[in-house]
Amino acid sequence: MRKIIMAALAAYIALIATVAMAQAHAFLDHASPAVGSAVPTAPAAVTLWFTQDLEPAFSSVTVTDQAGQRVDLGNVQIPQGAPAELQVGLRPLAAGTYTVSWHVVSVDTHPTQGTFTFQVGGG
């Protein structure tokens, strides 16, 4: 009986380890500018790094100022060779607080989203 239980346990662990090579939900790992950070000078772009590879057609990011106006250039891209990275260029930013909103779909079609702010200059 003990051998059967151990064999079943080993098979269960092996199954999890094997299928865990699949893709899953994409979560934000880190960002530049960092989530909730204050940067002294205006960045030229926002870059987001995710935990899973992204589906380009269904992944987007926008950046807005305190008035809700878009300040990104709309040129969202997933750099070649970095399928888990999302970038968007920015217009010249004045001092203030900006909101980054992202919606992504990982390559296995799981959607996730998130929002954070960063501050330029003294705010």
């Binding site: 999890i16 299928v19 899953a24 939900h25 979560f27 790992d29 960002a31 909730g36 998130g114």
Partner: protein, 308 residues
């Protein structure tokens, strides 16, 4: 003492597994920016394709001095994107004080659930369900498994506080989930003991470090710490009729932590009884919980309605 060492060893094993496999952040129970983990004591307010295998529990010593170990498995499977069914079964080791130990199944539980609402901007979830504990699906005489079926309509909810003002940043990772249910036993008494209608209520108070990192402030946490959700769960049962003299509200308070990876999560909690009727001493549990929709996104992890 042997049981305590057993559970302590299992808890250490769970912690070691987390530290040795930091992995990535991830999975289910989403409302807007909020990810709700599958809590252990409190029923989840979302439909899912998930499985807990196993949940190993060493409850506090019973009020009659009995020692116990429970080994449970639970599975949720979506039929449609908004409807799922649940199935749970347990194996129990019971050592009554002064009597020989007994082992066996502790009773089959099934359920059907409907996702009532998901409010993304306010990170809110609501779910209606009907759970059934089936008669004679466990060892009745030796382990106290029920000889009657119980129907339990339930309402489960979740609320994240990410919609608090930006001026309260460090409160925004908080979330609470809860369930309210009512038991309707199909027999009014068993072996001369009344089976009351019970009101069950429980809550999980969570502080999400993943939410803090992704949506409030990157404070430099990295895996595995950035994937941890400290929480306190509480659950109470209050009989409302056919009350046996001396029987009042029972319940437990369970502080613990859940680590959530891309494909599975691991949880560990202490179990503190709220009164003498709920037991004495400190118990504990560990749970290994897998996300079937992440492990099998193109097959059994999808709702059955999307299989064809």
């Amino acid at each position: 003492m042997a049981l305590s060492r057993f559970v302590a060893g299992a808890a250490l094993g769970a912690v070691a597994a987390v530290l040795l496999h930091p992995g990535d952040a991830g999975a289910h129970g989403f409302a807007g920016d909020r990810f709700f983990p599958a809590t252990i004591l409190t029923d989840d307010p979302f439909v899912a394709d998930e499985m807990s295998l196993p949940t190993l529990t060493r409850p506090p010593t019973g009020p009659d001095g009995a020692q116990e170990i429970d080994l449970d498995v639970d599975i949720s499977k979506r039929i449609t994107p908004d409807i799922d069914i649940t199935l749970g079964q347990g194996w129990k080791y019971l050592q009554p004080k002064g009597s020989p130990a007994a082992t066996g199944l502790s009773g089959l539980q099934t359920g059907a659930q409907y996702q009532l609402f998901v409010n993304a901007p306010h990170e809110a979830l609501g779910l209606l369900g009907l759970n059934v504990t089936w008669a004679h699906t466990g060892r009745v005489a030796a382990l106290g498994a029920p000889d009657f079926t119980t129907l339990s309509p339930t309402f489960d909810f979740g609320k994240g506080f990410g919609d608090l003002p930006q001026s309260l940043p460090y409160l925004r990772p908080f979330a609470v989930t809860g369930n309210l249910s009512f038991d309707f036993p199909t027999k009014t008494e068993s072996a001369g003991t009344p089976n009351p209608n019970n009101f069950n209520y429980g809550f999980a108070f969570e502080y999400s470090l993943p939410y803090l990192q992704c949506c409030v402030k990157d404070i430099g946490l990295r895996p595995p710490f950035s994937q941890m959700i400290p929480l306190v769960e509480v659950a109470f049962t209050t009989p409302v009729n056919r009350i046996t003299p001396g029987v009042t509200t029972t319940g437990t308070i369970q502080p613990g932590i859940i680590w959530s990876g891309s494909y599975y999560q691991i949880g560990a909690e202490a179990i503190l009884p709220v009164n003498k009727l709920s037991g004495h001493g400190v118990g504990g549990l560990v749970q290994f919980h897998i996300y079937l929709d992440d492990l099998f996104p193109h097959s059994i992890g999808k709702p059955i309605s999307e299989w064809f």
